[in-house]
Subunit: 351 residues, 2 copies
């Protein structure tokens, strides 16, 4: 048969869905960070040759997708589906980037969790037999996000210590039914979790409870402990959010000793003055498609749990005094021998 649902929230794929290729493009600040050599393209001034920041972000997302397509020899228009999203109002970076690409398109909004949401939906589509190749493309841009969510770029306001820096970055992955890369094995979509945080300058605190909720569900549903994984990577909890996540698990008597965060990986935090770290859905997308995929292929990690989070508020809800709901979408990937291979059985196909 097909996949099966484990517990309340997790799906176990019954046949391989692999990440065939990842592509990305980032801005200057990201290109000056520790992961620079993992990125396909670094733009020198964040304009990507375009006259507006919005067009720059669109061009960046297109570049990331083209790069992934080129690496696996699958032109974008040959994809069966494209799942895409970004942080802008009406997700225009994604829609406009997909315009003219001649591929069926699903617009997503999960804030900074969108790349995880996209991986999950794309994997579900392929597992279900809906086509052979699906693309996931996500972006964020400091300049488009800053003026939409916060203040005009020229404003030069002070950022508090808990603030994070929206990454100028896009990441795209091409998934394929069958083998051909690190395999997605288990998917745990998240629930909307709100613990009452109202400080829009403290996204880490707003999102950490959602990460705790989804990860707990994942461990419970799969019967796996955190130590099953070589690495558990959140998207952009940042420094404080990461500490809070660890503390939440510590209260359960669980030590997450193998946790990393894309927002902490992508910048040299002190040197690049990003306070609590990088953020934005492009953060997890660029780091996943660059650094994490590379590590999975090189055997640095065999089992990886990728779990980006998102803060689901808007400037309007914040101004209306609402708290900030969060969400975390988790996808488990395996680059080692499949569980079935370890038992000497089939290659994962159950039919």
């Amino acid at each position: 048969m097909c996949a099966r649902k484990l517990g309340g929230q997790t799906v176990e794929l019954s046949r391989p869905v692999s990440v065939l290729a990842g592509g990305n493009a980032v801005g200057r600040k990201e290109g000056e960070g520790p992961l620079a050599r993992c990125f396909d393209y670094i733009d020198g001034d964040d304009t990507f040759g375009e006259p507006t920041w919005e067009r720059a972000e669109r061009a960046m997302q297109q570049r990331a997708l083209s790069s992934a397509a080129e690496k696996c020899g699958c032109p974008v228009q040959k994809l069966d589906w494209l799942f895409a999203g970004d942080l802008l109002n009406q997700c225009v970076s994604s829609s406009f980037a997909a315009r003219g690409q001649d591929v069926p398109f699903f617009g997503l909004y999960g804030a900074c969790s969108t790349f995880g949401e996209g991986l999950i939906l794309a994997a579900m589509a392929l597992e279900g037999g809906f086509g052979e190749r699906a693309g996931v493309a996500v972006s964020s841009h400091f300049c488009t996000a800053e003026r939409q969510y916060r203040t005009p770029l020229e404003y030069g306001c002070q950022r508090p210590p808990t603030a994070q820096w929206t990454v100028t970055g896009a990441g795209a992955a091409i998934l394929g039914a069958g083998d051909g890369g690190p395999r997605l094995t288990h998917l745990t979509p998240g629930k909307v979790v709100d613990k009452g945080i109202t400080d829009t300058n403290n996204m880490g605190a707003a999102m950490a409870p959602a990460a705790y909720d989804t990860l707990s569900a994942h461990f419970r549903d799969t019967g796996r402990g955190p130590d099953f994984y070589d690495l558990i990577v959140t998207g952009d909890l940042g420094e404080l959010g990461s500490q809070l996540l660890l503390e939440l698990f510590r209260r359960d008597g669980v030590e997450l000793s193998n946790h990393a965060d894309c927002g902490l990986l992508i910048f040299r935090r002190e040197e690049q003055d990003v306070h609590c770290g990088g953020s934005g859905c492009g953060c997890s997308a660029a780091v996943f498609t660059g650094y994490l995929l590379e590590g999975l292929r090189a055997g640095r990690w065999n089992e990886l749990l990728f779990c980006p989070t998102g803060a689901l508020h808007s400037p309007t809800t914040a101004l209306q005094g609402e708290s900030i709901p969060g969400i975390c979408h988790a996808a488990a990937l395996s680059a080692g021998p499949g569980p079935a291979d370890k038992t000497g059985g089939k290659n994962g196909w159950n039919i």
Copy 2:
């Protein structure tokens, strides 16, 4: 096996995924329209008892989902997945409505096509074996949309003849694997189509090419002609958009004599002064879950093609002089004997 892909863009489901129930809630103007008796709840002043328009929309979406849940005896927290979206920046109506509902959540953005997008993704999830019950919830509210997209409510600006009226409405459907209601049989997700329309007061013209594109793909992929269907229903092309769609097909020598549009169904256009008709993703959602589902169950129509469209621009892109991309997501439903039954064969399960 599982579903199969037809042609470039359509999926044929290989086992029944049914619409078990539909629920909705609308505002006063919609409750004064011709479909009033099809709606579960009509609010007298569009506030839904809330102190802000944004909270009103959220409450309205929750009401629609609760109504659907009640009708099929499946509490919201027992759903396997919830797919939801709306027109607001960061889709806050949907995220906040899902907060505390304890259900895994996928945020979508397809503008006014979102309900079609949600039906497609939910059906794919269930067909793939991912759980048994999925919810789709979508809303729009005149007051939240008007001031975000156009002008403050107090502004009282003139609306041109091609303008449409954003529906205050929410619709929710609960899909189930197996029989139990009208069956989704074929899904044709749309591509982003842009023919250069820049007039943000003429959404019908912006979206009609996308409807033409998706419908053409659907007919081509399935081998069905328009006459296979008892009704082909777009979401909110409105009067002008509908005329344009018919004209586009007429150029191919095809007469769409069985076309209807939710935006033209929901209001008495002249009397209620809505110019080209209703719009908003709540329009198609409320009409589908009220009027169309009822008609399918009553045998008024056996084969229905539901194809809402969306305009994927934002105020920012419009102000920057961009044109308006559109998208159309189509889902075919059958309430008659299944094709397999007509041939005296199996009930649709191929495994």
